[in-house]
């Protein structure tokens, strides 16, 4: 039993440690190829992303943001922040974006509400991810695969 616990600490547990670095371009590509999205997603500039997520230019060192046609709330927004403090602030803004989108779409496209219910909004160190998809399990599987 003790052996198993110690073995687990050095094998199984280490498999669940989240990476400290992500390749945002590669991750966004994998997400798009995961069949989790039903809408056409197209990249927007950092300046446009800042208008959604309310960050200062210096607080985000890298980002990949893809928005839908407007027909849906689907979106991929992956950020690397300059500090954990900036990341925490951005995470809060991403949480707010879920609610903002809910307000905008609830009468316009009620079918989008389940997607927002399943929105993936996470922070891991300097990284903040906001992912709204048609199939959150597929998107989550891509994120989980990064942790191996």
């Amino acid at each position: 039993m003790a052996f198993c616990m110690i073995f687990g600490m050095f094998t199984g547990c280490t498999q669940k440690v989240k990476p400290s670095e992500y390749d945002l371009d590669a991750l966004s590509q994998q997400l798009q190829e995961s069949a989790a999205f039903s809408d056409i997603l197209s990249p927007v500039t950092k300046e446009i992303a800042a208008s959604f997520y309310g960050f200062a230019d210096a607080d985000v060192t890298d980002c990949v943001v893809l928005c839908s046609t407007g027909a849906t709330t689907e979106e991929i927004a992956l950020f690397k922040c300059a500090s954990e403090e900036a990341a925490a602030k951005l995470k809060a803004n991403a949480d707010t974006r879920v609610e903002t989108q809910r307000t905008v779409y609830e009468s316009y496209a009620p079918g989008e509400m389940p997607k927002l219910d399943d929105a993936i909004v996470t922070q891991n160190g300097l990284y903040v991810f906001y992912i709204v998809s048609a199939d959150a399990s597929k998107a989550q599987a891509v994120l989980d695969s990064q942790n191996k």
Binding site: S38, D39, T45, T69, G70, Y108
Partner: protein, 282 residues
């Protein structure tokens, strides 16, 4: 008798020739007159242009430059508007040209903000926005920190150009009601920005699948709206932008490959839209 017959025969021959000549002349001139009458509706003559209410800044197409991009055949062609300023394709303007411009509209205009790459202008756009909502729905934060409508946002500073795209969200209205509301909104904007060039953008095309499956979101209604918008723009001295011609494929519909719901479209289409805006100006 014989001499008289010969004389009569000669007279008849001359009369016949004259008659034939007369008929030929009548047919010739009637055709010529018809073609002259038809020409203005095909291509406005300079004289016809002078009679419009176009501001003095309306420019003609430079020599050697193509006219407006080839109009795509629409399922229900709009009627020609015979007065008011119109736009033709010209040399593209760069981003600086839009530094005194504001773009106002619905989710499609918001898409233009996201994907066109044009950042030198101001945007006042919101998902599900309508012509009524533009003057009544406080959905933006004004410069003074208070909530305001899109039209109040437009009124915060003096703009040289204002581009408006509204209508697809109220496509269920009857055309006259829509135009009444649009007219009231335009009056408000014109009063606030009397020296501004205002561009009324026609409704954008929908996909064939959408058009054929919807009683409201179809090209027949869109063309009806656009015909009325074109006339309204002319009546108000505004410029009309034909986005169906600009964005539709050869079949007159939004290409299926560029949309998932038949109404909203991909970034690629926004680039086409921006190209149209860059090349069509007063």
């Amino acid at each position: 008798m014989t001499h008289s017959n010969k004389k009569n025969k000669g007279l008849r021959a001359v009369f016949f020739v004259l008659l034939v000549l007369l008929v030929v002349l009548i047919v010739y001139f009637s055709k010529k007159e018809g073609s002259i009458l038809a020409r203005p509706s095909e291509t406005p003559s300079p004289a016809a242009t002078d009679e419009t209410v176009a501001p003095p800044s309306v420019a003609e197409t430079p020599a050697g430059e193509s006219e407006t991009p080839t109009a795509t055949p629409s399922p229900s062609p709009s009627e020609a508007v015979t007065s008011g300023p119109d736009l033709t394709a010209r040399d593209p303007m760069n981003d600086d040209y839009f530094s005194d411009a504001a773009f106002m509209g619905n989710s499609l205009m918001d898409g233009f903000r996201l994907f066109s790459g044009l950042t030198t202008c101001d945007y006042y756009a919101a998902t599900s926005m309508t012509v009524v909502g533009a003057t009544t729905k406080a959905c933006i934060t004004l410069d003074n920190g208070t909530p305001g409508t899109l039209v109040q946002g437009l009124s915060q500073e003096a703009y040289g150009k204002i581009y408006i795209l509204l209508g697809i969200n109220e496509i269920g209205y009857d055309v006259d009601t829509f135009i009444d509301y649009y007219s009231q909104m335009l009056d408000e904007i014109i009063a606030a920005q009397p020296d501004c060039d205002i561009y009324v953008m026609g409704l954008t095309p929908v996909s064939e699948a959408k058009s054929s499956s919807s009683d409201t979101f179809n090209m027949k209604r869109i063309n009806d709206y656009n015909t009325a918008l074109h006339q309204l723009a002319a009546d108000k001295g505004c410029y009309y932008m034909d986005l169906v011609s600009a964005l539709a494929g050869p079949d007159g519909y939004l290409p299926a490959s560029e949309t998932t719901d038949g109404v909203h479209f991909s970034a690629k289409v926004y680039q086409t839209w921006l190209d149209y805006v860059r090349t069509h100006y007063a």
